[in-house]
Amino acid sequence: MYGFKSRDEFTHKSARSYDDERRRVESWLGDYMRFRQMADGKRVSISIDSRISRHDPLYQAWKAKSFTDGDITLHFLIFDFLHDSDTQLSLNEIMDEIDRRLSCFDAPKTFDASTVRKKLKEYVSQGLLRAEAHGKTILYRRSDTANFPCTDALDFFSEAAPCGVIGSFLLDKAGAHEGHFAFKHHYITGTLDSEILCGLFEAMRGRRFVQIETVNRRRGRTAVQRVVPLRLFISVQNGRQYLMAYVPRNRRIDPVRLDNILSVKAGEMCENYERYRQKLDQMQKHIWGVSTEGGADQLEHVQFTVRYGSDEEHIHRRLEREKRCGKIERVDAHTSRFSADVYDSGELIPWIRTFICRIVEIHFSNRELEVQFKKDMDAMYRLYGLSGGDEG
């Protein structure tokens, strides 16, 4: 993904695996692959300008599930037999119909009843078919479908809503059409966590505990923990997604990065679900990003003052627009002050730095952080040759 690694640096499995993976990715994302020949080998990377692509190219990865010859044959036959929601058939009738339809082939495929029953059951659980008992016989019919949404709504929400890949599946059914939306500040990396996210949403809606397996990629370790999933936190400034979850073992609400969750298994109902959710609502008044370090008893105060010119009124408006849980105070016509009490004031530092060139006062109750902020400023002056008397 980064584009600076060569084939030789692929240490996962064999070089042949690398070629297989590269071919597979190229098949999905051919238009977005970039190749650069360096002195020590070819570099392959993926480069996507999200403002040019109308749809997330990574959705292709979700459309490549393998299946058996029987799966695909049965699929089209079953929905042909049950072509409208008035038609209902028993398993035996479906078996007879399969034999009749396939008799035109030289070597007709045969299916045993248990395979077909399993497929019907799978489609019932996915909401495609309904099973109704008539005496001792179960009759199958296709489910009522919903109105197919307009493609404009699908074009937009397949990119702008969580689990947008599901909207992309719907768009595939809509056929070819021209998209009229482009997306700025659009991160597509979360796409790969769609299945995990879907499992978490289902548990949230069901007010359930989940067992999650997480990975610490730096240490190469995995761990399993039981948590109560409360809310999905999304950053639209770096694309990361976090699960805010109550962790019974620590009796705390903590963030878990979604791309570090390997699997989700729903557990029992959580009786205190609403209580934990209300607790998170209260905490959000002091969470700048996702960190809940320190706890409510040790909130950290941060404040800074910026000065701007007569033609820079937009700076005050920008503070108002980006203040999140902070407060803005107009000191005078050219000066505004931001202040906040948060769990982790370290989370504000990147944002505060975006006001570099006009910060006239800054104060952190966490003194270490204040010292670090100023040291970093000095380091920046040095990087650009502006320390001491060498400005120029």
Partner: protein
Amino acid sequence: MIFSELYGAYYNTVAAILQLAVKRPVTREELRTMIESRAFSESVLTIEPALTSGKWQLLRPDGTTPLEYPPTMPLTLLQKRWLKAISLDPRIRLFDFDDSGLEDISPLFTPDDVHIFDRCADGDPFEEEWYIQTFRLILDAVKNGSPLSIDVKSRRGTRIHLDVMPEYLEYSEKDDKFRLVTFGSRYGKFINLGRILSCKPFQGHAPPGLEDPAAAIDKSVVLELYDDRNALERVLLHFAHFEKEAQRLCGERYRIKLFYRQEDETEMVIRILSFGPLIQVTAPEAFVDLIKERLKMQKSCELN
């Protein structure tokens, strides 16, 4: 389950082929064209022989099918639950969305299940009637390629009249705003929908042209970083939505070239500054000067 063959490129491609085959025999040439246009680049090696050899017994050797009806499939429960979820989003009112059939469906998520914590607070008023009407009028004009007469409020509060040829709508997830991207006008290529005072079909004699005098100018900036404090991952993730090139210089030192548009330059400067000393701009000189200028001004603030 999201990862299912039901949603896969293969099932969709075969459905399209069978759609034709229930009407008339499908030729080999048509088969190949449909596979190439709908599935993955290597799929022709799988789908075509599977259908023609009788491995998948859905197409007879003469190109007809044992199916009697064009293939269709109802929406899955997962698809319905997602549709129900987006029907609860305030932005859905911008679209002509009919939620019939979703009455008894439980949403996959609700707005309260999701919190976007770093979105700007002054997003567009998606639920206000004037905004909805303006949005729909513009979307129709984009689709039909018809010119518009628009009055907007400038940053200085004055009213400006523009005749424009709409190109497409751009949504910023960070700003939570739509902009109309036009084929060019005297005042620039972009119009914020939230600033529009009036919008109607163009009625004049000389419609605005398709020339693009304000075309986006592509620019680039080169950064260098030392992979300390997980800097590499943070930088690449932060700038993930830009076209870029990354290169390892030596050890843990990296060079990244980002491509951006001229109109985003100020945003690019402040986003780079947000990383502090973790990254250094090395080229072009004009961009280095933009950073230096801000640092010099900061130094003059005498922060103690």
